[in-house]
């Protein structure tokens, strides 16, 4: 039994280390070659479940603890965004494995987040980065894609009832589409059910106020912070 606990602790510590290294699978090299060829976060998460380690322990002591270290390294400029994204992708892949287990145990995720680049705009780098990082932060992310018609966004909110909606636009010619989405949500009496966050090169805090969005996020990290603040306010 003692051995089992030790093995469990070892595997959780290894998951954490692999998150810090940004190693999703065995094939990934990581930040250095110290773990090269060893199992990555995906393989280790599967092994942990096979050993009956609880998903909550995997998430809190392995995945989240690892991401916390990554965040600290990013804020001290030791890590760059590609490092952060690699770690978030690894955590996101682990969450995909854990999702059915969490659902069967009735464990709630942090929240559902739908994201879309508005109608007329096909730019998606920022949107994709936000999606990866939020998934890595433990949110259930629904990526609706680019050039998404207002009706499709409203339809999704109506059907899936996500707590959060992220809208992205790069162009000054397409940013008005964000206001149209918010207006349509109001018309469909859905506005109060969803917090709308906007971002992208063309928009600003001022614009967010103008169109009655709930928050403007300058980057993905601010999006995580804003969501945490909403969660705290909810509690």
């Amino acid at each position: 039994m003692k051995g089992g606990v030790s093995v469990g602790k070892d595997i959780i510590a290894t998951i954490k280390e692999n998150v810090i290294q940004g190693r999703k699978t065995q094939e990934d090299v990581g930040i250095d070659d110290s773990l090269e060829g060893t199992p990555g976060v995906v393989e280790l998460t599967q092994q942990a479940l096979e050993r009956n380690i609880s998903p909550q322990v995997i998430i809190t002591e392995g995945l989240t603890a690892g991401m916390q270290v990554v965040g600290e390294k990013y804020s001290t400029k030791e890590y760059f965004i590609p490092d952060m994204l690699a770690s978030a992708e690894a955590v996101g892949a682990a969450m995909d494995i854990l999702k059915p287990v969490l659902e069967s145990a009735n464990v709630e995720t942090k929240g559902q987040f739908a994201i879309a680049t508005v109608k007329g705009d096909i730019h998606d780098i920022g949107k994709n980065i936000v999606a990866i990082l939020l998934k890595g932060a433990g949110y259930e992310v629904y990526d609706l894609g680019t050039d998404v018609p207002t009706e499709k966004v409203v339809e999704f909110v109506k059907e899936e009832r996500p707590g959060y909606l992220g809208l992205s636009a790069l162009l000054t010619t397409t940013m008005t589409g964000m206001g149209e989405v918010i207006k349509a949500l109001e018309e469909n009496k859905l506005r109060s059910s969803v917090k709308v966050l906007i971002g992208g090169a063309a928009v600003s805090e001022e614009f967010a106020h103008e169109i009655d969005a709930d928050a403007y996020c300058v980057d993905a990290f601010q999006a995580i912070k804003v969501l945490e603040e909403f969660e705290i306010a909810k509690a």
Partner: protein, 512 residues
């Protein structure tokens, strides 16, 4: 292993081969008609004994007309070494210069009279006293030997500085013409382990300076093998005149076989024609005349083809180092030196601006990039210099180091080959097949390998322009780093054998 500098892939050339040859032919003609005027008797005797035509010029000052035939120049070009080694206290800092290779080493200098201090006083917004900003304030003063020590110290730690030319003229009360050279050499050598080049204030100091270098290098033979010092002499004053004292110094340096840069600095518009063809024909003739004299004194003397051409400012007729033409002339000189297969001593980065700022950055970066692209070998690139080489600011030197880091990266050879392209095609196909279609995952293996250029190191947070403050912090950090001083035993011998070095420069005696 010596320093590598940067080997410039496909160097930038302004002149065609035909234009280079035309300049060469014109210079050969200049050397016989009108020839040069020499104010130095010994140079006249040496040139005459080797076949140059000389004729006394009537006047108050003794001078001679010297006509140097082409065959004497060609013979000198034959004996002048095509590879020159500039040694260093730390042998890993040695520079090997091949005349036919477009490589670039970044070197400090020249000597300035003014040292620019920087301070950051706080200013308060009158309308809103809660708002404060720090604004850099620059205060000029006369340079001292302590300043020279600081400059050598910081340049030791600046990554992109390959060699050191003293940056500040020492003007302390206890510095005289009789002890200036030994003090500037000692202060520089003691605080910097890279190659040291300097001019001489007094020929009488030459033997003392060479003896100092022998003691530091480990003996006479050791200095020959590892010439830790070299000299720069402007023996030719434009247009076409051998100056008495600097020519005398040049002859003596050549006799000792130490490396020497034969430099000429004509000013287009005043001491040389304003047109490119004219200044190029003249400066080339002036440098070749110096090289020819040096090889007559001692065949095989290592020489650098030194070029500091500049255009005149039209408003003051002073030097305009920031002018675009100045860079053009320098690149032309690089090509002329390579035509003769001699290492070039070229110039860039000198600016007209009086203080660090936008003008200074634009002027110096423009010439630093274009002249470096020509692959001049020894690029005397004015680290920290302002106001047409009359002011030195350590903060600017720190800023320059970051510029040269960018230039170094820019000059790297492109890696475009079949294996690389195959790897890229594989990557493109893989990423295009993913839902997010982002290549970010492929950045990571390169992030810490040095294959991706870094962000500007003095970038402020948000919209704040903190460049000067951040560079100042970096400067202080470099000054706090230790320096590899000359060891105690050698220092004691230097002070014993070479009287006149200021006691405060002996770090073992002052206990710091």
């Amino acid at each position: 292993m010596p320093r590598k500098g940067i080997l410039v892939h496909r160097p930038y050339e302004r002149l065609t081969r035909e234009q280079v040859e035309l300049i060469h032919r014109a210079s050969m003609q200049i050397l016989t008609d009108p020839g040069l005027i020499s104010f130095n008797r010994e140079a006249v005797d040496i040139l005459h004994s080797h076949g140059a035509a000389v004729e006394s010029i009537a006047g108050d000052r003794q001078s001679w007309q010297v006509k140097i035939p082409e065959q004497l120049v060609l013979k000198a070009l034959d004996t002048a070494p095509k590879t020159v080694k500039l040694g260093a206290r730390n042998p890993d800092n040695a520079l090997i210069m091949h005349g036919d290779e477009p490589r670039v080493y970044f070197i400090t200098g020249s000597e300035t009279n003014i040292w620019l201090d920087v301070d950051f006083p706080t200013y308060v917004n009158k309308a809103d006293p809660t708002r404060e900003i720090k604004v850099p304030e620059f205060k000029p003063r006369r340079g001292t030997v302590d300043d020279l020590c600081q400059s050598a110290h910081v340049c030791e730690h600046l990554e992109m500085v390959d060699g050191y030319i003293r940056t500040v003229n020492i003007q302390d009360r206890d510095i005289t013409e009789d002890n200036k050279d030994i003090n500037k050499f000692f202060a520089s050598l003691n605080n910097n382990t890279k190659h040291f080049m300097s001019g001489l204030t007094s020929l009488k100091q030459l033997n003392k300076v060479v003896r100092m270098a022998e003691l530091v290098a480990g003996g006479k033979k050791a200095l020959e093998d590892n010439p830790i010092i070299s000299f720069i002499t402007c023996l030719v004053k434009s247009p076409l005149q051998f100056v008495d004292d600097t020519t005398a110094t040049f002859i003596e340096v050549c006799r000792r076989g130490l490396p020497v840069a034969v430099s000429s600095s004509p000013q287009a518009g005043t001491t040389a024609p304003i047109k490119e063809a004219g200044i190029m024909a003249q400066i080339n003739a002036e440098v070749l005349a110096g090289i020819t004299l040096g090889q007559m004194v001692k065949p095989g003397t290592p020489v650098l083809y030194g070029s500091v051409p500049v255009r005149a400012r039209m408003d003051t007729l002073g030097d305009s180092y920031g002018s675009v033409e100045t860079s053009q002339y320098n690149i032309d000189c690089v090509q002329m030196a390579r035509f003769y297969r001699l290492p070039n001593y070229s110039t860039s980065g000198v600016c007209d601006s009086k203080i660090p700022g936008q003008q200074s950055s634009i002027e110096r970066l423009f010439s630093d990039i274009v002249v470096a692209m020509s692959g001049p070998q020894f690029l005397h690139c004015a680290f920290g210099l302002l106001d047409c080489n009359s002011v030195f600011c350590l903060l600017q030197a720190v800023l320059d180091d970051a510029h040269f880091k960018m230039i170094e990266f820019f000059l790297r050879q492109p890696r475009i080959d079949q294996p690389e392209l195959e790897a890229m095609l594989k990557q493109i196909r893989e990423v295009v097949a993913t839902p997010q279609k982002l290549y970010i995952g492929h950045i990571r293996p390169l992030l810490r390998s040095g294959e991706i250029s870094g962000i500007y190191p003095f970038e402020g947070s948000g919209e704040a322009d903190d460049v000067f403050e951040l560079a100042y912090e970096r400067m202080k950090e470099l000054l706090a780093r230790p320096v590899e001083y000359i060891n105690r035993k050698t220092t004691a011998r230097i002070f014993e054998e070479i009287p006149g070095i200021l006691p405060r420069l002996n770090i073992y005696e002052r206990g710091s």
